[in-house]
Symmetry: C2
């Protein structure tokens, strides 16, 4: 497992005061780490799927088409380490492992939804901004 154990290998521990958001961003700061987890390519998929129900490894893999076995394992371990999901091993053959959201994980879903709603409410504006921006770029390129 080479992914970097969230131990924050970089020793640069600079502190910035960001009063607009009322927090200090440090390398390896909590906020940063949670944000990284939230923005992780697969984490949100897993969290949202487990929002409905408990699922086992293979079921998750089947639902999340495109994820590799390795990345599903890695993602699940991260979420488990952070206490967002719970892993239950049933001592049967063939092995059966269930994954479920913890209370902490449920709370995160609530929070994320506000971000999602904001995005949905403003995505038209964003798309429009991008089109305008790209148009300006293109115009500038032609002028060269």
């Amino acid at each position: 497992m080479e992914e970097g154990t969230s131990e924050s290998p970089s020793s640069a521990d600079v502190t910035y005061s960001c009063s607009a958001l009322q927090w200090d961003i440090r390398e390896g700061c909590e906020v940063r780490q949670i944000l990284d987890r939230v923005a992780d390519k697969w984490s949100l998929m897993v969290i949202s799927l487990l929002g409905h129900q408990t699922l086992r490894f293979t079921e998750l893999k089947r639902e999340i088409e495109g994820i590799s076995q390795r990345m599903l394992t890695v993602t699940l371990r991260h979420l488990e380490r952070d206490g967002l999901i719970e892993r239950t091993v049933h001592p049967v053959v063939p092995p059966r492992v269930d994954y479920a959201l913890t209370d902490l994980g449920c709370g995160l879903i609530e929070t994320i939804q506000s971000l999602v709603r904001w995005t949905e409410g403003n995505q038209e504006a964003i798309v429009r901004a991008r089109l305008e921006f790209d148009a300006r770029q293109a115009a500038a390129a032609i002028a060269t």
Copy 2:
């Protein structure tokens, strides 16, 4: 500029229905893209700094210790493209360029704060979960 122009180079356009979060995650979906922007290593720093006041390029670079000139430029372009910040070039010598948050950007700050508050409110639980997890890992490793 090799960073991938958000044009979504991957043609895999799979759709999953995630009713827990009430949205479809597609490769290149809007929600994903905004989330990526929010979780970007430097974006939040820039946004929060511009939350107070208009700043120029060098001022931002000075405030965000550790950022390279290239990454500041890239980050600013992305935010500008999405309509979150506004870039004003003053035709003077030496050149002066001001960056300010747009209304859209201000709205994003509001939204992010709920995530930040959640993180702050739960970071003790998360740290505790990690310690327990790591302890279990260590115990399992010794047992080998």
